[in-house]
């Protein structure tokens, strides 16, 4: 494959907080996203994954690092110059209630991106593009004339996706797009994203806290902890042979239809990103931690082709979720 669609190098986002201290929400993150690829970003609240998505889209300026999108350095583009780039990179939100303006009809909501990026489009053409898009995301064309409050959560999420895709972007950042939805509706939206990706050749940065959902949809997965990527690998490689204890714990936390298992329970919450632990940020919750882990921050090291992990104990053999899933007859 030729040059990547998105290349992020040493990206950081710091916020000043009270007391002259700094909150390092994103702390030196690098990755590439190829055209047509889905990169999953997984981590708990406070891992910086949402901030990462916002910075990549330049919705908030980065503190350091570089973002190259479609071969263009967008790190320092002005608000005005960014507007032209925005047509190619779009965002889907977690909360399908808060991200749609309740005072606008669905047609008005979907018309805005077209008015901004394709102003030459006539009224009739615009309407037909909107109806086509609504059908693409599995809604009736007549939905255009209704208001957001008339739809269920899953349907609203489809409207949010339609708004993001109507100008045919190349990159979609999906920030927890299913975690506010019922499980049954989650499955619909995940399937829709899989369909759209195949049909439109979309590249997706898929951000979520549930590694099972991320695994369903992603080609590669980056695991984030306290603003850093601690492991990044092809999905199958990550599932077959996790190389970071945090990844192992994330697998273990997924509720399984097979019923109760011995799980690795992570103790407590993610530490505050204002005062992260010394050395390896994960060591305070890691069951394999040794005194040496507190000394320095581990760097991301390639452990097998394309599989990088940041752990001081490369000798560990961690549990793969694919080897011990309880047998349960598949339905359908």
């Amino acid at each position: 494959m030729n040059s990547p669609l998105l290349q992020v190098t040493d990206l950081a986002k710091h916020y000043p907080v009270a007391g002259g201290r700094t909150l390092r929400a994103v702390n030196g993150v690098s990755f590439t996203l190829r055209a047509g690829e889905v990169l999953g970003v997984v981590g708990e609240s406070g891992s910086g994954k949402t901030t990462l998505g916002r910075v990549v889209l330049r919705l908030t300026p980065p503190s350091a690092g570089e973002i190259v999108f479609r071969g263009q350095d967008v790190t320092h583009l002005s608000r005005r110059a960014l507007r032209k780039v925005r047509r190619h990179m779009q965002l889907v939100f977690q909360d399908p209630y808060a991200s749609l303006n309740p005072r606008m009809s669905v047609e008005q909501i979907l018309a805005i991106p077209l008015q901004v990026h394709e102003p030459s489009l006539g009224r009739a053409d615009r309407r037909s593009r909107i109806e086509e898009m609504l059908r693409t995301v599995g809604l009736f064309a007549e939905a255009a004339d209704r208001y957001p409050h008339e739809f269920s959560g899953g349907q609203r999420q489809r409207i949010g996706i339609a708004r993001a895709l109507i100008c045919r972007p190349e990159l979609l950042v999906a920030d927890e797009p299913v975690s506010a939805l019922d499980v049954s509706v989650q499955a619909q939206v995940v399937n829709l994203l899989l369909d759209l990706r195949e049909r439109l050749g979309l590249s997706i940065l898929f951000i979520a806290h549930d590694i099972a959902v991320v695994g369903m949809i992603s080609d590669r997965i980056a695991v984030m902890y306290l603003g850093r990527v601690v492991e990044i690998a092809d999905t199958l490689s990550l599932f077959n042979r996790p190389r970071h204890p945090y990844t192992e714990a994330l697998f273990s936390a997924v509720p399984d239809l097979g019923g109760r298992r011995d799980r690795i329970l992570l103790q407590g919450d993610v530490p505050s990103p204002v005062s992260p632990p010394s050395g390896c940020p994960f060591r305070t919750r890691c069951r394999y931690a040794e005194p040496d882990c507190a000394v320095e921050v581990p760097s991301l090291v390639e452990r097998s082709p394309g599989h990088l992990a940041a752990c001081h104990r490369p000798e560990l053999v961690l549990a793969s979720p694919l080897s011990d899933v309880a047998p349960l007859p598949r339905l359908r």
């Binding site: 507007r83 303006n101 005072r103 901004v116 007549e142 409050h149 008339e150 369909d195």
Partner: protein, 301 residues
């Protein structure tokens, strides 16, 4: 596992509801607010009376009738009595109302517009622009309004236009503060970020996404501003810095009545009562709107 891609046919249409349904509770809450309804009725009566009243009266506002000076109210030819020059008090009151209400509404419009623009810009751009604007607002606010008003009025020749400008200049800060605070918090909300991610222009973001969402507090502040403007104009005119005789205004009628307070108290009582009625009317209306438009009271999800 089969591929079950949801298609249009599988999705039942959502229930149709009138788009206005979400706002109807606000109207109902407003209608139930007795004081607000009283305020609204009082304002409508005042406005209609001031607009039409003088045409229906046989007396002109400046018609001097020295034979019927100091006529007490409710007896004789003048319903509300007459003043020291025999002018009909009711006609003068209504005509003064035109001036006072015009100043009130015009100053409200002007101060609201200025406040909204400054608040929007300060809240939207933030940074040093926002800080500078809001510190300026704080600085102006720290002057007592009446002091500011009298200082300005002393520097220019008084008239309807100048007094409107001056009153507006002392009343826009509250609106700016309300708008700035709202805009700053709304900017972080998903729908605003969504619009920004689409790449809309700053003007679109401010006027089409943010402004409609803060109309309620703006309307409330504007309504209360009318009351304030009427009051300020009355102060200024009463103190002689406002509308100048012979053009009547509620304030300068009070000024004129001072001399005759003991001999002809109605000359002070009626303008005073009308000012109170107008000011409380607008205040009640504003309070009612505030309660009715408070989105926290809406139960829709």
């Amino acid at each position: 596992m089969s591929a079950v891609a949801p298609s249009a046919a599988e999705l039942p249409p959502p229930v149709l509801a009138a788009p206005s349904a979400a706002r109807r509770p606000a109207l109902r809450r407003f209608m139930r607010h007795r004081l607000a309804m009283f305020g609204l009725v009082a304002i409508i009566v005042l406005v209609v009376a001031c607009a039409l009243g003088p045409y229906l009266s046989p007396y002109g506002p400046l018609t001097i009738d020295l034979r019927h000076r100091f006529q007490p109210p409710f007896e004789g030819r003048h319903w509300l009595g007459s003043d020291q020059l025999g002018r009909d008090l009711l006609v003068r009151l209504l005509l003064a109302g035109r001036i006072s209400l015009t100043v009130g509404f015009a100053a409200m419009g002007l101060s609201t517009a200025v406040g909204v623009v400054i608040g929007l810009v300060a809240g939207f751009y933030g940074g040093w622009v926002g800080t500078a604007l809001m510190r300026f607002v704080d600085a102006v606010l720290s002057f007592p309004a009446i002091f500011l008003l009298l200082t300005l009025a002393a520097l220019v020749s008084p008239g309807v236009l100048t007094i409107t400008l001056i009153v507006a200049l002392t009343a826009w800060m509250e609106v700016a503060r309300v708008v700035e605070g709202q805009v700053r918090s709304l900017r972080e909300r998903d729908f605003a970020i969504a619009a920004e991610a689409i790449g809309v222009s700053d003007a679109h973001l401010m006027l089409r996404e943010l402004l409609p969402n803060i109309m309620a507090p703006i309307v409330v502040a504007a309504t209360l501003n009318v009351a304030r403007a009427i009051l300020l104009e009355s102060y200024a005119s009463y103190l002689g810095y406002g509308i100048q005789p012979p053009t009547p205004s509620w304030g300068n009628m009070l000024n004129n009545a001072q001399e005759y307070l003991t001999s002809a108290p109605w000359l002070a009582i009626f303008p005073g009562a009308v000012i109170t009625l107008a000011v409380t009317g607008f205040n009640f209306l504003g309070d009612g709107l505030r309660d009715a438009l408070d989105p926290r009271l809406d139960v829709h999800r």
